[in-house]
């Protein structure tokens, strides 16, 4: 069997410069989970549908299960492990706990990161805007309404912190 040529990449992972050699066919979710032991990113449908593996690349939410790892070369990656800073939970993380935005928690890292990009783009979304933006992330437990309320709560608390 011919050895595949490994690729050398460097990127910013949760604010930290990272250098790696990877197989060209490696998906980002496997790089994060298997090579970097960042198991907060979850693998579920493996076809880019459910959003459980969502991470943020250069400010954009992507499904890491269908995102080739070499594509992060020179870019900035945020995973759920990088969201809280100095032990302080992000307002979304607090709101999801307070408002019952999850149950089993398997969709939660992806859900929270998707919501983060929503609030980055639109700090005060309406309920309707939340439903539309979040439509690509599946939660089988909550029935969604309490997630919508969690995101609304986070957007209010973030606004409160700025004011």
């Amino acid at each position: 069997m011919a050895e595949t040529k490994r690729l050398r990449i460097s990127f910013l992972l949760n604010g930290k410069e990272t250098w790696l050699e990877i197989e060209p066919n490696l998906m980002l979710v496997d790089l994060l989970r298997e090579s970097l032991f960042l198991t907060g990113t979850k693998k579920s449908c493996a076809m880019g549908i459910c959003g459980a593996c969502t991470v943020v690349v250069d400010g954009m939410a992507v499904s890491s299960c269908t995102f080739p790892a070499f594509n992060i070369n020179g870019r900035e990656v945020l995973t759920i492990e990088g969201l809280s800073s100095n032990g302080q939970l992000h307002p979304l993380q607090k709101a999801f706990i307070q408002k019952g935005g999850f149950q089993c928690g398997f969709c939660t890292p992806g859900m929270i990161l998707m919501a983060k990009t929503l609030l980055d783009e639109n700090p005060a979304p309406t309920e309707e805007e939340i439903r539309t933006y979040m439509d690509g992330n599946i939660c089988r437990c909550t029935g969604y309404q309490m997630i919508v309320e969690s995101i609304l709560e986070a957007s209010r608390s973030e606004a409160g912190e700025i004011n």
């Binding site: 759920i80 809280s84 019952g100 089993c104 928690g105 439509d135 992330n137 089988r140 309490m146 919508v148």
Partner: protein, 759 residues
């Protein structure tokens, strides 16, 4: 220090929002191998030969597991009927049945090796639907099942195995005389209803890690019932129960799909063969091919008086249980028993059949057979009302069981006010409002299920240390419902200690006290009392010890705020009590609690149900006459928690259940063609998304206070799913005048009904 009725920050909250929570697939052990399965492409075939020589020679492969590895063992598992082998022995019974497994250094190698296994099949004729399976002379899935037993029922119930047929189990419940009663009725209604097969779709697929070492077996697994898994492993591998250690990390939900053994025996067999830890992590597609809900065909015959009084009901319930029994015999029993619904009907006869077919095995699923029959009886209720010119709400209020009335002689009386719940649901959707817009309609539905399981023993353990910190241990699995948090609240409340003092111990069958499983909404209602009693036991012991230390009668002492209070305003801190009693630096006081409903031969199922779980739904829908699309504008779910320990989690359970119902009502269905599952993934199998949320979606939770759990609590989490399909189809009838007896409400199905009506 009241800790209940308050939405405390959940104990697993911070770990789950930061990604630190460890699920089974996150576990990595030194030397761990990865397993992949070889599954049958044929729905029914004899296994003529297996050649693994190419697979075993692939570099990186540690072991290939086939039927040859089980010579002399008893590799069958299942509940009351043990018919499912760990790997196929003589034949395969569905497309997806496991033929062999490979353990290798990584998943890719294991998968490649699996593809190198040569299998010679001899295809057999197959049956895919219940109808095909029941034809005289139909090919049989199982010829000779050795391990099966009939449940010991009480009054009115009978179970049958019909040898030489594809009937896995036949359950009958009977009271009165339906035949004679139908004669006396003014109207008799006979209808057939069809319910699809949904998939649990836990976002975390099934996953297990197994490690055999020095005579013992440790399994980390995503399961709802670690003690059932332990029992199966002990039996299959012939090792004592205490040497099987089942550890449950975070579970990415179950909804019934992770009850009982799944691939734990297979992972264990691979570990035994290789001497190394083995992880078997299924793909979503493989989970689809592991266990499903039961599709159903229900024939319901109901006799009524012209004033709307229900007199008699005869039901024939046919569930497609797939290739193996799984929990099918239990699901069919519940479907049959619940088929007469929450109504006063003197004459009842249900014949319910779980039928084998060459499709994916069906097993436990949120609602457990109750969902399917509720769709039938609550659809027919509206049809009866229509025929008699009665209001659907009125006919329900007339016949629904009162609180305290018997559902069946010998069983627990109804413990919720269903009339109040019905009226609330009707009010919330504006039932009596006049002036409806075209194509818009409203529907209501009222359903129940016996909750808390049958003969389900639960133990709990609470221990307190001298610094006042508390460890709580019980065997109900935190699958997301928030059980750990609620149980900690109960302990905090009973012991008058801060909620923050309580740690829920990780679930490990070698240290956690026994619990039959996380099923039947039994957590709070059945394990809850065991936890409450364990906490009370600790307090009793503290007072006893303090009595000795202080030389006082324990009956004159009180424990509160971490101190023993005595005399007039005197108190001694717990630490002092313990140090003075134990001597030295401290110790622990360990309390235990137990709960189980006693057997009663008068109860139809042999045990009265711990409680009744109720689900009442109100739907306001609009139907697009051009496309047939049904949109739910408003959905109100009403249930009775008895007492809410954690209001937010109660709401989460009920809304989650209702959304499950919306899924199978509108679009969820596993499609089989010639035994092949056509949509085993999240692209082709449509789950509810954010945009499927009704504009107004709300759960209203009553607190009737009559449950067996602490403070009158009942179970939740399944009631919400029961009424959805009928509430919505009743609303569709109300909107456009077509009665749809088969769900999901695909737009083309609705459109076809509309065009038939207009012709």
């Amino acid at each position: 220090m009241k800790s209940i009725s308050e939405s405390k920050a959940r104990l697993d909250g911070e770990e789950k929002v930061t990604g630190r929570a460890v699920y089974t697939d996150d576990i990595r052990l030194p030397g761990m191998l990865h397993a992949k399965l070889l599954r049958s492409p044929y729905p029914h075939a004899r296994l003529v030969g297996l050649n693994v020589s190419r697979a075993i020679r692939l570099p990186g492969v540690a072991a290939v597991l086939t039927r040859d590895d089980f010579a002399g063992l008893n590799p069958f598992y299942g509940f009351s009927v043990k018919d499912q082998p760990v790997v196929a022995l003589d034949k395969v019974r569905y497309a997806g049945d496991v033929v062999a497994a490979v353990a290798a250094v990584d998943e890719d190698t294991a998968e490649e090796a699996a593809s190198l296994i040569e299998v010679e099949y001899e295809q057999l004729p197959a049956v895919f639907t219940v109808k095909e399976a029941l034809v005289e002379g139909a090919p049989l899935l199982h010829e000779n099942i050795k391990q099966k037993h009939l449940p010991k029922y009480g009054r009115g119930c009978t179970g049958f195995f019909h040898e030489g047929t594809n009937i896995c189990f036949h359950f009958r419940y009977e009271r009165g005389d339906v035949e004679e009663a139908f004669e006396s009725c003014d109207h008799v209604f006979e209808d057939i209803f069809t319910f699809p097969r949904a998939q649990h779709c836990s976002l975390e697929p099934h996953v297990s890690v197994a490690y055999f070492e020095s005579g013992g077996l440790t399994v980390w697994t995503s399961t709802q019932s670690p003690f059932v898994v332990r029992q199966e492993l002990s039996r299959i591998f012939q090792i004592r129960l205490n040497k099987v250690r089942v550890v449950v990390p975070c579970v990415g939900a179950g909804y019934g799909g992770k009850h009982s053994a799944k691939f734990e025996p297979l992972a264990a067999a691979l570990s035994q063969k290789t001497g190394r830890p083995v992880k078997l992590s299924l793909s979503m597609e493989e989970s689809f091919k592991t266990v499903t809900q039961h599709s159903a065909t229900i024939k319901m015959k109901t006799g009524v008086k012209k004033d709307g009084t229900l007199v008699a009901r005869q039901s024939e319930v046919l569930l497609n249980t797939g290739a193996y029994a799984e929990a099918g015999p239990l699901v069919i029993e519940k479907a049959g028993y619940r088929a007469h619904g929450p109504y006063r009907i003197p004459h009842v006869k249900s014949d319910a059949f779980a039928v084998y077919t060459n499709t994916v095995p069906a097993g436990p699923f949120r609602g457990f057979g109750g969902t399917q029959v509720a769709f039938a009886y609550e659809s027919q209720m509206d049809m009866i009302a229509e025929k008699l010119g009665m209001d659907p709400l009125e006919i329900r209020l007339k016949n629904v069981l009162n609180k305290g009335e018997e559902f069946a002689p010998g069983d627990t009386p109804i413990d919720s006010d269903l009339k109040e719940a019905l009226k609330l649901a009707a009010k919330e959707i504006g039932w009596h409002e006049k002036g409806r817009s075209p194509y818009r309609g409203k529907g209501i539905s009222c359903a129940l299920k016996d909750g808390g399981g049958i003969n389900k023993p639960s133990n709990a353990l609470v221990k307190i240390t001298e610094d006042g910190s508390i460890v709580l241990s019980f065997g109900t699995v935190e699958v997301g419902q928030g059980i750990n948090t609620a149980m900690a609240q109960i302990v905090a409340n009973e012991m008058d200690m801060p909620f923050e003092n309580i740690l829920v111990a990780p679930l490990d069958t070698t240290s956690t006290p026994y619990d039959q499983g996380t099923l039947a909404s039994a957590g709070i209602a059945v394990t809850g009392p065991a936890v409450q009693r364990a906490a009370q036991d600790v307090v009793r012991q503290i007072l006893e010890i303090a009595g000795m230390v202080l030389g006082l009668d324990p009956a004159t002492l009180r424990f509160g705020e971490g101190k023993v209070h005595y005399g007039e305003n005197q108190s001694l801190p717990l630490r002092d009590v313990m140090i003075r009693h134990f001597g030295g630096t401290g110790g622990e006081i360990v309390g235990t609690g137990f709960f189980k409903v006693s057997r009663n031969n008068d109860a139809p199922l042999g045990y009265p149900c711990p409680f009744w779980e109720v689900g009442i739904g109100g739907a306001d829908v609009v139907v697009d006459p051009e496309t047939g699309e049904v949109k739910i504008l408003k959905y109100i779910s009403v249930t009775d928690a008895g007492k809410m320990i954690h209001p937010n989690h109660c709401r989460g359970q009920d809304e989650g259940a209702a959304m499950f119902g919306i899924g199978h009502t509108l679009f969820e269905s596993m499609i089989f063609r010639d035994g092949q599952l056509m949509n085993p993934n999240l692209i082709e199998y449509r789950l509810p998304n954010f945009r499927d949320l009704p504009d107004h979606f709300e759960s209203r939770i009553l607190e009737g206070g009559s449950g067996p759990g602490p403070y009158g609590a009942k179970g939740l989490g399944e009631g919400g799913i029961l009424p959805v399909a009928s509430a919505v189809t009743n609303a569709v009838y109300n909107a456009v005048g077509v009665r749809i007896k088969e769900i999901p409400l695909y737009p083309e199905r609705v459109l076809k009904s509309l065009s038939l009506k207009n012709d």
